[in-house]
Symmetry: C2
């Protein structure tokens, strides 16, 4: 009898510039057994993007069928294209005992919370709002207006952070990745994720 044979679904969000991708990359280095959920999209592949790696590239008809059939755990429309997380592969990995990480926006995260209450929602915070701004400016790839847009989005995202299970302050990447591991292991100890264990105990 052991705890949580099933994998845990981890929803990972955070403002652009919070460094969530870097933290995840660091986490996967020491947790190659965890799975990363590849999103489906109707947008055209960009040069170098590989189907099934960067995204599952599907037609609009196929995506809308997936929505109707409940085959996406969450989805959104952005710039006229659909983006979403295919439910099938996720459920398969979880059943096989692998943790699955979804890196998605706050609205998608709230959809997952609804459909999959046992998911662990983690919100990544940059060290400060000022630091977020410096990081976005430091990239040097965007106009002042685009940066203002990102900061305004970040404020909205931060206002939804209280609905997440955990906040992960990303001041040092290695520490944040280690903390992420602790959060995931701790989350697996929640009673709601161990109902079978408790039932087995009481049935003895």
């Amino acid at each position: 009898m052991r705890m949580n044979k099933r994998g845990v679904l981890i929803v990972f969000s955070g403002p652009s510039g919070s460094g969530k991708g870097t933290v995840l990359g660091e986490y996967f280095k020491s947790h190659p057994e965890a799975a990363f959920s590849v999103s489906a999209t109707t947008r055209a592949p960009r040069p170098g993007e590989v189907d099934g790696v960067n995204y599952h590239f599907v037609t609009r008809e196929r995506f809308e069928e997936m929505i109707r059939q409940g085959e996406v755990l969450e989805y959104t429309r952005y710039n006229g294209n659909y983006y979403g997380s295919p439910a099938g592969p996720i459920r398969k990995e979880l059943e096989a005992g692998r943790d699955v990480v979804l890196e998605i926006e706050v609205d998608g995260a709230m959809q997952v919370r609804e459909k999959f209450p046992e998911a662990v929602l983690i919100f990544v915070l940059p060290p400060s709002f000022g630091e977020l701004e410096r990081r976005l400016i430091g990239r040097g790839t965007e106009t002042r207006e685009q940066i203002e847009g990102r900061l305004s989005t970040a404020r909205r995202e931060l206002s939804l952070a209280p609905r997440y299970d955990y906040l992960l302050l990303n001041d040092k990447v290695e520490e944040a990745a280690a903390r992420l591991g602790e959060i995931i292991r701790a989350a697996k100890c929640a009673p709601a994720r161990n109902e079978t264990l408790l039932q087995e105990f009481l049935a003895e």
Copy 2:
């Protein structure tokens, strides 16, 4: 700006024979900065027990005054005596940024949950119910009837385990103590315990 300057109140429960005391002892070895809440009681000190170390020994009048004044975070009556957790010292330690561990029964834990919603409730599980029974018999200090009583109490306690935040399976003491540390660090990342941080972020 850092997370949770305040200490966290940790409620630690588990059936007799779950090894919760041993796990805590192991945890405190590597976390001497954490505080252990000493209970108050109206029962007489036993030989060797030291006031302020094993218990705060107080009169019935004093204990009932503490109840009236809201000076106990939780209390219970057992064999005609009061047992409870003095609120003052706990709040002081938390304010000073120290974590405080309360090792109390399930009913007390539910009282703490009511009065102190930000507390982290951890329930210790033995490896199995059969193992719990073997441990209780192995002590060799109790009659079969007393052991049956403890097992029946354990069943009732286990039925309340789903109300805790975390289950801690105690199969190996060192691993359980390490997991306890992870749970406490993770719990500190809950948004409800970081409201100030989020407010500061949004106020920037």
